[in-house]
């Protein structure tokens, strides 16, 4: 079967790699084309109409964080000014994409070189998943992990 070209629109590097990994694990073969990423949700929100247009040419997968919005459908209603094209896939991480990482307990423990067991049975209910992830990184037994991920201020 032919590979399907797909565009990504994301807030940051972590979201980009979450999508790359998700698509990689998907049974359908995708070829990831240009990635639209300018830091933060403001850019994505403002450019949602443009990505909706772009999806007429090829599928667009956009990932954003729910953050303080109360629920995903509300966010979709706010961001979409025109009806959504079927090839525009707007996905919302509850509350943040970091929660998805916290769900992979064993992989996270290995990657961050943690002594203690990671256990977040319901990561989507966490108020601040980024903070939990930073706390874990800060307790890493490897200095390079602590230095590269946690900023002390």
């Amino acid at each position: 079967m032919r590979s399907i070209p797909i565009y990504l629109a994301v807030e940051d590097d972590l979201s980009e790699w979450m999508l790359r990994r998700t698509l990689h694990d998907h049974p359908i073969d995708f070829t990831i084309g240009p990635v639209f990423k300018k830091g933060g949700f403001g850019y994505l929100k403002k450019k949602t109409p443009a990505f909706n247009e772009l999806s007429k040419a090829a599928p667009v997968l956009m990932l954003t964080d729910l953050d303080d919005c109360s629920c995903p459908p509300e966010l979709l209603n706010k961001w979409l000014t025109k009806p959504k094209n079927p090839n525009f896939m707007l996905r919302v991480a509850v509350r943040e994409v970091e929660a998805w990482l916290l769900g992979c307990d064993q992989e996270l423990r290995d990657f961050l070189s943690l002594r203690k067991v990671v256990s977040f049975p319901n990561p989507e209910t966490l108020k601040d998943p980024k903070l939990e992830l930073l706390k874990l990184a800060d307790s890493s037994s490897r200095r390079i992990i602590r230095k590269a991920i946690v900023r002390r201020d």
């Binding site: 990635v35 772009l54 040419a57």
Partner: protein, 265 residues
């Protein structure tokens, strides 16, 4: 090749007998280019500029004789001095008035020759000291020198001009104005200017249309693929959706694996 048929195939048997022939292309050789010399001459007139400020400040770093066509502006000051005095002064005045907006402390830009007859640019930097001294080009900032080089070249001549990354060393607010500056200065002469750039600030100018932008995609040893932005459906749709040229086109040219670059150590 033309329409699939072979027109020229070099190197040929004559080239093998006389290696000196290989120092010039078919287009350059006056015995070979008689029928299309007009074209060859037009190519020769094309001006390419990528002024390297350090080479202007420290000419001893470069081999001046080897500079040939002077793409890096080593002989920029020589060329400037070869211009008739009246034209030169009037251009420098124009440049100074433009520079005053970008580098407010720089005043009285003028050309001088030192005791050895070597040309220099001089300007007064107004600072807190009431009697500030004059400074020469080796003390100008890289951005100031690049801007002077760019403005001079735009004022000089009317042949096809190739500008490589004119945004280098310049503040982003100045870079954002470059497309309009270039357009204004070439408009009267109907001069064609080709600019290569990666700059988001430069491509943010809303006056840039998709017909004016070509995307270059390198394919290693296979050469570079050139595609007009106006012929790309994806870019057309993004522009219709409200994106600027920078937002629509630059992600299309980013290397695929660029996010892995941070893991280099």
């Amino acid at each position: 090749m033309e329409n699939g048929s072979l027109i020229v195939n070099r190197p040929d048997k004559d080239d093998k007998l006389d290696e000196l022939r290989l120092t010039e292309t078919h287009l350059e050789q006056i015995t070979a280019n008689r029928e299309f010399r007009v074209l060859a001459e037009e190519f020769q007139k094309i001006l390419y500029l990528h002024l390297v400020p350090q080479l202007l400040k420290f000419p001893q770093l470069a081999n001046r004789d080897a500079a040939g066509e002077d793409p890096f502006g080593i002989r920029f000051l020589d060329r400037l001095m070869e211009t008739p005095e009246k034209t030169r002064r009037s251009r420098l005045k124009k440049i100074e008035s433009a520079l005053r907006l970008a580098v407010p402390e720089l005043q009285e830009l003028r050309d001088v020759r030192d005791e050895k007859g070597i040309p220099h640019l001089e300007a007064v930097y107004q600072r807190w000291r009431p009697k500030a001294g004059r400074q020469r080009e080796d003390q100008f900032s890289d951005g100031t020198l690049r801007l002077i080089g760019l403005l001079w070249t735009l004022l000089d001549g009317d042949n096809l001009l190739l500008l490589e990354e004119p945004e280098l060393s310049l503040h982003s607010s100045i870079v954002a104005k470059l497309p309009e500056i270039i357009w204004r200065m070439q408009r009267a002469k109907k001069r064609q200017v080709l600019v290569s750039s990666h700059s988001a600030d430069l491509f943010s100018d809303r006056g840039i249309s998709a017909e004016e932008v070509a995307l270059l995609k390198p394919h290693g040893s296979e050469g570079t693929e050139v595609e007009l932005a106006s012929e790309k459906e994806s870019i057309r749709l993004l522009l219709e959706g409200g994106m600027s040229m920078a937002e629509a086109a630059l992600p299309m040219t980013a290397p695929d694996s660029v996010s892995q670059l941070t893991f280099f150590d």
